[in-house]
Symmetry: C2
Subunit: 312 residues, 2 copies
């Protein structure tokens, strides 16, 4: 079975590693949001791609879910000593990823090609695919003005109300050949429990991506990132609310209407089954909150079984 | 008293810190060789500038003379994990210097401006001045072919015979305004005990630099990097020999003929006095091999006293 997952950062990475563990080596491709990418100190940092890569390579920091395990921050301290504002916590080992990526981008390689090389070097058998090779930047409209995503997310700790989302550059982007192949070749397509607005939203906004998903016959199933009216992680709940969406699994399902065949929700949200089914989706209510280690593979297997059963 | 020193890496940095200790804060400007600069992983690394800067800031590694004290190498290990060849030992804290410099160069700042900012941030009162703002690259002709300086110096551990030196880009370089001011405003000019071929050689080859030194009335004095027919550090002795120069203090003096008023040699080389005086220079024979710590200031004071006495 070949699987294509769409993912943002930490939540997406958790289900992705469960899928990797559940599948034959090389059978998983993860299409990852790149609209959070930014360039501190002139280095291209791709938070979601790297979180997925480090997690699938087994070198992610298990406490935070992002960054590297056993990380040090000597370089950042030196930057601080030079008077730099170091709100973005670049670790020493993480820095190597950004330095190499930046060098290769400047040399004309594609982000897709670079992530392929880096993830293979870390021993990942499947594909970690940027949603596109063009630069797209999520800009958030807030009462404090337009904020770059990392400014909002890291520096201001998601304290601003999000009143709108602008994906700068999205109109000039297109799905890569690798993404189109992963979508068309998949037996099941999984929308990870990532933020539907700022993680999966940009992926689905790449011109041609929704069409590619629509034409492939593979069943498409999402795992809800909202459980009991709250986000498992991050600001998705407040963001859905301030943008006028329902802060429920059904609210998330509504954002994916027309794309999905099935929705996996937590047992807590069993009561939303009818609202979701009304959107033309089947529902699996299970333990959708992943615990550590093997629980991620357990959920992945349930999602795949549910997805495969939605065929025809 | 205002002093302008010309310096390469470790040897130049040692005398420079002695001069800094001997002088009023801000009275020292060090003009530094940049022809060893190169761009590993797309980052501009300036070995001599950084050795001088770290030494004057009191944060240099006292064991090696270059690099930072208490340095770690987590980033380099990660680069190695990505399959990179890591013969150039970039430390984590050192990396911060290169990342910032590269970012600012790309933003259009001059190397002179950047080094000013970085060295001020590290608390250095005087000026650390690149010999020029243009990129110059020392290329060495060897039996193994043309080698970039760091390739020869670090990767191949100075094992190749140097048959010729080519300073790529030197014809398009010129002394910066800061260098010309430091030279014309100095009361004494000191040639540090650096390699006369590949450290001070490039500085003196910047078109206009010899002329600027010639017209300033300040006495000019060099400290010999050769003691008893051997280089204090590095491959200067073998290089002088293979290029057909005398491997003596007098041999070094001959390379500076017409530029210098005086030469400081070690007592060991007292016997070379006549040969050097024949080149039109006065000679001070003293303990020219710097020990650790305060001995650097001791030599600096002797050099300055000798230099100031050569006036008129």
């Amino acid at each position: 079975m070949r699987v294509c997952a769409l993912a943002g950062g930490v939540g997406g990475a958790k289900l992705s590693v469960g899928l990797q563990d559940a599948l034959e080596p090389g059978a998983l491709s993860v299409v990852v949001n790149t609209a959070d990418d930014f360039d501190p100190w002139g280095l291209r940092v791709c938070p979601d791609l790297d979180t997925v890569m480090y997690t699938l390579a087994g070198v992610a920091n298990p406490e935070t879910g992002w960054g590297l395990v056993d990380e040090s921050f000597a370089s950042l301290e030196m930057l601080s000593g030079y008077g730099e504002d170091t709100w973005f916590k670049l670790g020493d080992r993480d820095l190597a990823t950004h330095v190499l990526r930046t060098q290769r981008l400047r040399a004309g390689e594609t982000l897709t090609g670079i992530m392929g090389e880096l993830s293979r070097a870390l021993g990942i058998p499947g594909g970690i695919l940027p949603m596109c090779d063009e630069k797209v930047s999520t800009m958030l409209k807030t009462p404090a003005g337009l904020l770059e995503f990392q400014e909002y997310f890291v520096r201001r700790r998601q304290g601003d109300e999000v009143l709108g989302v602008d994906l700068k550059g999205i109109e000039d982007s297109r799905p890569t050949g690798a993404v189109l192949e992963a979508v068309s070749g998949a037996d099941v397509i999984v929308f990870c429990p990532s933020n539907p607005v700022v993680s999966l939203g940009p992926i689905l906004s790449v011109p041609g991506m929704r069409e590619a998903l629509a034409v492939t016959p593979a069943p498409k199933v999402a795992v809800s990132p909202i459980v009991g009216g709250k986000a498992l992680k991050g600001p998705a709940d407040r963001m859905l609310s301030s943008l006028g969406h329902g802060v429920t699994s059904a609210g998330v399902a509504a954002l994916y209407e027309g794309l999905l065949d099935g929705m996996v929700v937590d047992r807590t949200d069993e009561g939303e089954r009818e609202n979701i089914e009304r959107l033309g989706m089947r529902v699996l209510a299970t333990d959708a909150v992943m615990g550590p280690g093997p629980d991620r593979e357990r959920l992945a297997r349930e999602v795949l079984r549910f997805g495969a059963g939605l065929k025809a």
